[in-house]
């Protein structure tokens, strides 16, 4: 036998071997959950919880694969053909973008309770121990000599939440005067020395590189940084912030193709169960379920928060107004 023929037969043998192993697996259902960066640990634990629950109620085994990355990047991957059965992303706009491509029903947000948001987060400040610059509210961030760390809202979902929280505060402060709010944002970004491309990048800049006096961050990221470096950081809750709704949806077209519609829906619905809500609280997401929220009330500082709907009239409006080409974020830098 020639060398090439031998190689081909060996590869064929491997292919058959894999098919033989793969066939029994095919009887088992698999789901792909495409999510954003900071949820990795939460969904790892939730997937086991759901698999156990599904087996107990239906007797079927389910394997859930997860994929993580920047929220916008993940949405684009799904649009470009990544066969996700469900998406759990950082903001509604990214799921809207998938809906616009026809893969998800346009009414997706009304299909599950609380705007399809099983738990929320919020935006807080992380400052260095002892709060040396005396930072208590958004107003303190625009003082000269204060360095603010926040990622680039053009590339990071978390950064958009930061931006909208600041904008909402500025708008209230200036009595709904947009010029005033714009002025505030200009001063705020004049204090930003570096715009990382993602929320985790900013956290690293602040915690590992020691740059900046205050990090505007997801509450979950701030709590984790505090937990990993005890005594080094303090959390400051500003007088007004935003309810960061991180929504979920079944990717209808993909689930139909895979025949996983029922289980995909159950996977998302179970996120609202007391067990899953407990788990969310463990990872510092704010639970929606009243009973669980009350139980953990002492874990989460009280916030005075507005939603995107209240602050900006929804994500599509917010995106067009602030983050699209020539939006308020571009104006900060272009109009000197």
């Amino acid at each position: 036998m020639t060398n090439i023929a031998r190689r081909i037969s060996i590869s064929l043998a491997f292919v058959f071997a894999f098919l033989a192993i793969g066939l029994p697996l095919a009887a088992q259902t698999t789901l792909l959950n495409v999510s954003y960066d900071p949820t990795r640990e939460f969904y790892e634990e939730y997937n086991q919880l759901f698999a156990k629950h599904w087996n107990a109620t239906t007797g079927q085994d389910v394997v859930i694969n997860q994929s993580h990355g920047g929220s916008g990047k993940q949405a684009r991957a799904v649009i470009d053909g990544l066969e996700a059965d469900v998406v759990t992303l950082a903001l509604a706009y990214d799921i809207d973008a998938i809906a616009d491509s026809g893969l998800i029903d346009q009414n997706w947000q009304s299909k599950l309770p609380n705007n399809s948001t099983p738990f929320t987060s919020t935006i807080v400040f992380l400052v260095r121990a002892g709060n040396p610059k005396g930072i208590h509210d958004w107003n303190d961030l625009i003082k000269p000599g204060v360095q603010v760390i926040t990622p680039n809202p053009k590339t990071s979902g978390g950064a958009r939440w930061n931006y909208l929280a600041a904008w909402g505060y500025a708008l209230r402060k200036s009595g709904n005067n947009e010029a005033g709010a714009r002025d505030f944002m200009k001063k705020l970004f004049a204090n930003v020395p570096v715009l990382d491309t993602g929320a985790r990048g900013s956290t690293v800049t602040f915690t590992q590189r020691g740059i900046g006096d205050v990090l505007i961050a997801w509450e979950t990221d701030a709590r984790l940084s505090q937990q990993e470096n005890p005594g080094e950081y303090e959390i400051v809750v500003p007088s007004a912030t935003i309810v960061a709704e991180t929504p979920v949806a079944v990717v209808d077209k993909v689930a139909q193709k895979h025949g996983t519609e029922k289980i995909a829906r159950a996977y998302l619905e179970y996120l609202y169960s007391p067990e899953a809500q407990e788990l969310a609280a463990k990872y510092y997401y704010r639970p929606q379920l009243k009973s669980v929220a009350q139980k953990h009330a002492s874990d989460f500082p009280k916030i005075n928060a507005f939603t995107v709907q209240q602050g900006c009239g929804g994500w599509r409006n917010a995106q067009a107004k602030h983050f699209a080409d020539g939006g308020t974020f571009d104006q900060i830098f272009e109009k000197k």
């Binding site: 973008a97 680039n152 053009k154 590339t155 020395p193 020539g326 571009d330 272009e334």
Partner: protein
């Protein structure tokens, strides 16, 4: 007809080369180039023109995009000069001197090729940020490297260095020392030997190396993104804007910026190649 016979003559000429299989290898070359280079490029160009020429021009002419082009090209040019100067020195030392650890230094030169660029970017940022090992000594003197254009040039010259060294080193090794000895015996000073013999012979290779370093720097994303600061209008590179456009689901705008960047880089590369070609001819005349 005349052209055809000329082509045939050319093929005939090439056929006389000692290596067989010209037709096969030419066919393979075209297939390979088409699949790996031409098709993706064509796809980018068609994609960028999907919204029409007006939209293409609009996408690449906003102040922010223009600033990004300026920052990227200026930094890449500066970085290729830095890489050329230091690359030449390194190549010279490696080619002409024997010292303990020479082989190790020789191997180290290729490290920027192998190192994932993100790793390079993160380590450079850790070193040069205001609290970093090197940055903390520069900061009190008002020298800021990380999150400024200096940082961009630094990262770009890091990735460009091996191109210069590997282009120049073989040429320096080839130079016959007898020529230098002859010049010295005829009364030439060290400087004259360098200016009249070494520089002209190694210059074409140096320009080639610098051109490669420039090309790499202009397209660099991974290492630059960490140290750049990414502030719009100041330290934002073109490659980041492409990613930004993709994040906005604006595929057409992203490809428009990519095409414009390719065109600008092509112009620079072409001029450097013409320069290299002229220098090479001069050297040919002299020897």
């Amino acid at each position: 007809m005349a052209r055809r016979s000329a082509v045939r003559a050319l093929i005939q000429l090439k056929r006389s080369s000692p290596l067989p299989g010209f037709r096969l290898s030419l066919g393979f070359t075209w297939l390979y180039l088409t699949l790996i280079v031409l098709l993706p490029l064509a796809a980018i160009i068609t994609r960028s023109l999907r919204g029409g020429l007006a939209q293409f021009l609009h996408a690449i002419s906003t102040p922010r995009v223009e600033a990004a082009f300026r920052v990227t090209l200026a930094s890449a040019l500066l970085a290729s000069v830095v890489a050329a100067v230091f690359g030449f020195l390194v190549a010279w030392v490696l080619a002409r001197y024997n010292f303990p650890g020479r082989r190790i230094v020789d191997a180290l030169i290729d490290l920027p090729f192998a190192l994932p660029t993100a790793v390079a970017g993160i380590s450079l940022t850790s070193l040069y940020s205001e609290k970093g090992w090197i940055g903390r000594f520069l900061d009190p003197h008002g020298i800021h490297v990380a999150f400024t254009q200096t940082g961009i040039v630094l990262a770009m010259s890091f990735v460009g260095l091996p191109f210069v060294v590997r282009s120049v080193q073989p040429v320096l090794e080839e130079i016959d020392t007898a020529m230098e000895e002859a010049a010295a015996s005829l009364g030439a000073s060290d400087w004259q030997v360098f200016a009249r013999i070494l520089a002209p012979v190694s210059l074409p290779a140096l320009v080639t190396g610098a051109a490669l370093a420039f090309a790499r720097a202009a397209g660099e994303y991974g290492s630059v993104i960490f140290i750049a600061g990414n502030m719009p209008m100041k330290t934002e590179i073109a490659a980041l804007l492409v990613v930004t456009k993709l994040e906005e689901y604006d595929y057409t705008g992203a490809s428009a910026i990519a095409v414009a960047m390719l065109a600008l880089s092509f112009v620079v590369m072409l001029s450097l190649n013409l320069l290299q070609w002229r220098l090479q001819r001069k050297v040919g005349e002299r020897i």
